[in-house]
Amino acid sequence: MLDVIAHGVGSRQDLPIPFALAVAGAAVALIVSFVVLGLAWRESRFRGNDAGRPLPGWTATTIDAPATRWLLRAIGLLLVCFTAMAAFFARDLATNPTAGLVYAVFWVGLIPASLLLGPVWSLLNPIRTLHLGLARLLGSAPEDAGVRPLPAGVGYWPAAAGLFAFTWLELVAPDRATTPVIRTFFLAYFGVHLVGVTVFGSRWLDRGDAFEAFSSLVARLSPFGRRRDGRLVVRNPLDGLDGLAPAPGLAATACVLLGSTAYDSLSNAPIWVRLYQSSPLGVTVTGSLGLLAAVGVVAGMYVVATTLSGRAGDLPRRKLPGAYAHSLVPIAVGYLVAHYFSLLVLEGQRTMIYVSDPFSTGADWFGTATLEVDQTIAQYPGVIATVQVLAIITGHVLGVVAAHDRAVRLLPRRAAVTGQLPLLVLMIGYTVGGLLLLFAT
């Protein structure tokens, strides 16, 4: 799990969910899947980036105003500078807010932020802001301020790698909640992307920055989005999801998100703990292999399912994983919410208390230093368990519906049902697996 002795992130973890709830959840997943398969529409009905009702004029103008956008960029810079200050200059005590800021407020907080506000990290990302400033100084547009154009085959692959690296940091790295480790990681991350953005311009960050990709993938499920004609709209989240275009590395990115969350759950299981603590390879190597295996299993299952599904149609085999990649996103988001929402609520509060005194001098910069964490939600494990199961089920349902719509678009009518079965089995597998992990660990 993501904590270190005497360091405060994750001092408490959620209880396993009750067996009855796990079974009920699995049953619901099964029922809904087959209902969708049997009864749902025969023609693709999602219109992707063409869908949505425009926001009222004044709202859209305010949101898109340069002032708003620069305000958000400034906020992003400030937040990152504050965290860097705590990471580099404050003592590495349990009350240092760095780990909480990175693993709870940032990583988990990006999920509700993106669901509500869209791809926020594109504005908050300090790398992008710095590059924008530099580009302006040089008098060129940020997309063109690069040495060479971004090759088409790159897609989301750097983001998949970056997310794997971050989740490795979060789940496996020794001393992962200490400031030296965190700042080393982010210095390296910053360096890599500074190079990327210098070579390829700001387009590198659209799909190459792990956190921008993460935020934009989650944001596809937001009721707010931008239509193809550039207008800000309110739309059905499934339409937004449908608008996520297949791209190289997209499926891999979703698989990393799903697999790493599954590994997080698994790494809590006493069986796994015994295994890696007694492994001759050492804790870190075994943990890394476990994470890799979890992502690999998720990805392998996905490739097999999409290949089997595609046999019924005539899309070339190598395009199949990409064609359905968007349907993994809600499942991944469901997993993430299930595993991390209590962390955000509890450790997020604790972090907000610690930020008032990052240097442990007895200061109270924001007035929160004397507050206590409100642990009410933890007093109701039944509520937590229900939220967890609902998150996984909702992700499953959205994934099944999204895959169904794509399948009826890609497959000939006679094969529409049989072609979907492998995908359905895959998603039931993910959901039952997710529920099992919540129950057994």
């Binding site: 009920a24 015994r274 603590q277």
Partner: protein, 170 residues
């Protein structure tokens, strides 16, 4: 999609939500079979110069897991026996009978550790610390305080970063 299908889908959705709601409300974390409270019979060891925190109540050595009421002068409920766990750390390996120990608020927990290296044991959440010296039998006894939130709390070593066990507080 025609309206009959629409209606059927909505009905199914409603049934599904109702099922989950019922399951969620009726399911109790205590329903599923978890490990029975482990206990090993240990004579009360005098801790060898290692830090112990005073337990909140006088307890008799537990012979088995069931509640042997200890004789108490008052006519209140007899003090429950402590939850006892023995752990051995040798060569970086942890051996213990149970990895996950069910506890409840108000329980006295007694953790007995024998390690071949000096280390510091930390109980997360409840924030207890025990110093361990090599070759000595260290005992940490503490009360799970009122108001501790339900959840899994890890008991780990500081220097060697080993997870010893998890306390499952329901």
């Amino acid at each position: 999609m025609n309206s009959a299908r629409c209606a059927l889908l909505r009905l199914t959705a409603g049934m599904v939500i109702a099922t989950l709601a019922v399951a969620g409300c009726s399911a109790d974390p205590d329903d599923d079979a978890t490990d029975p409270a482990p206990s090993t019979s240990t004579a009360p060891e005098t801790p060898d110069g290692s830090a112990t925190t005073p337990g909140g109540e006088a307890t008799t050595p537990a012979d088995d897991a069931t509640d042997n009421p200890s004789p108490s002068p008052s006519d209140e409920e007899p003090a429950p026996s402590p939850v006892v766990v023995e752990i051995r750390v040798r060569g970086g390996q942890v051996s213990t009978e149970t990895d996950r120990v069910p506890v409840a608020v108000g329980d006295t927990v007694r953790i007995i550790v024998r390690s071949d290296v000096a280390d510091e044991i930390h109980v997360h959440g409840i924030e207890e610390v025990l110093q361990v010296e090599p070759g000595q039998r260290a005992v940490l006894e503490f009360l799970v305080p009122e108001g501790t939130a339900p959840g899994l709390y890890e008991v780990e070593t500081h220097d060697s970063a080993l997870l010893l066990l998890q306390l499952e507080l329901t």
